[in-house]
Amino acid sequence: MTILTMIAKMSEGLGRTCAIFFLTLLFSLPLGMLVALLRMSKNRAVSTVTKVYISVLRGTPLMLQLLAVTYGPFYLFGLGVAREKLVPVIIAFALNYAAYFAEIYRGGIESIGRGQYEAAEVLGYSRYQCFLRIILPQVVKRILPSVTNEVVTLVKDTSMAFTVAYQEMFTIGKQIANSQTSFMPFVIAGVFYFLFNAAVAFVMGAFEKRLSYYR
């Protein structure tokens, strides 16, 4: 098998890798905000439950969570296992990443001084307007570097999906490596991830630059 054939075969799985990446961001970024707000709730029960959720998801391996979401229902309740693995994969990834994003958001929100809230309140902004117009834009700027870190990690984490037989790029790479007794597919995978992350760094850098007009 030539390197070009390997690249072509692995590219077939790249679509699935991208699906994990984009769908995880699509769901976990807003879900993380919800979790962060619940975590900061004045209701003790709500904030405690959320705290436990965050510490469990951050404190256990993603691989375990993938297995639990995919096969847990079968072993615990005798329910079926999803034929289309994208669904459990996205659920596990989104829940996991939401926990990480939630803590980043919380740190960002708590770093905004009380004065900003008070100024908005006295000027007559509703709580909703204050959060959306005054607090959130400043939070976004502050947390962008940490979010970039997580997004870069997510690119590499997509390869975890192999544990539940989701045929993404790295899984295909391993198949080829095996049947060809070759290390080349891993080199190709490395280059793929590197280029993917270079694109991520470029996009996030552009965001940061756009927000650098103020301090």
Partner: protein, 254 residues
């Protein structure tokens, strides 16, 4: 003259500490009232209660006859949120630390509240904002961001921001305390000019000379109560109460 603001028998405590005790105060239209006193005397808390940033434990808070809070059996009962929101439109507050929105340009800091909160015509608000900035000597800074301005300039923007909402009364919480001494003058000039225009104002300040010159009425507070009040020249130049005399003497020594 009609009463613009009335505070009756205000009480406030933080945990076990009594901050304000049976404090009453009223401000009439066009009046400039200064509140002076040592730190920890409750001046800022009084201002925060008046601007609804803190809730009083007991007492009335009335703007132009509208009750924001009414004392019922020793407990302040606040009006529903919609009414409080309406009352918020009657006053403005200038903070010690300016609290400008750093992600907005100077102009947007001034124009967004009237457009968003009062649903006013954006073009008209813009014209008013530019006029206010002109008045503050900041017309050329309209497109700058707060971080590019000096403290004095930022404070002038925050005054413009408060004025853009056309408040009936403007509160100042130690407006020059966060500024370098050489920058306090420009803020005091702006406030003096507003006083000449008959803007109703309540100013918490440490600037005795300024309080004496600009205000019609001075209130000296200590440990949560009003110790002495009256004509500024009387209170500041000829205090009658022992605490006031001590405070003013200590201030002079510095």
């Amino acid at each position: 003259m009609s009463k613009l603001l009335e505070i009756n028998h205000c009480r406030k405590r933080f945990d076990a500490t009594r901050v304000l005790e049976d404090l009453s105060l009223s401000v009439e239209k066009g009046q400039v009232l200064s509140i002076i006193g040592p730190s920890g005397s409750g001046k800022t808390t009084l201002l925060r209660c008046a601007t609804l940033l803190e809730t009083m434990d007991g007492g009335d808070l009335i703007y132009l006859g509208n009750y924001a809070a009414r004392d019922e059996g020793g407990t302040s009962v606040y009006a529903p949120p919609a009414e409080l929101q309406r009352i918020r439109g009657m006053f403005g507050l200038v903070f010690q630390n300016f609290n400008l929105f750093p992600h907005y340009s100077v102009l947007k800091n001034v124009t967004e509240p009237p457009i968003l909160v009062q649903h006013r015509n954006p073009a008209e608000v813009r014209d008013q904002a530019m006029a206010l900035l002109e008045q503050m000597g900041l017309a050329d800074k309209a497109d700058a961001y707060p971080y590019q301005l000096s403290g004095g300039q930022q404070q002038r923007v925050s005054i413009a921001r408060a004025l853009a909402l056309n408040p009936k009364i403007l509160f100042f919480d130690e407006p020059t305390s966060a500024l370098d001494p050489e920058l306090t003058g420009e803020i005091l000039r702006v406030i003096r000019k507003l006083a000449e225009e008959k803007m109703t104002m309540v100013i918490v300040t440490h600037e005795m000379m300024f309080a004496r010159d600009v205000s019609d009425w001075v209130v000296f507070m200590n440990e949560g109560v009003i110790v002495e009040q009256g004509d500024p020249r009387e209170v500041i130049d000829h205090p009658t109460q022992e605490r006031t005399i001590q405070f003013l003497r200590r201030l002079q020594e510095k």
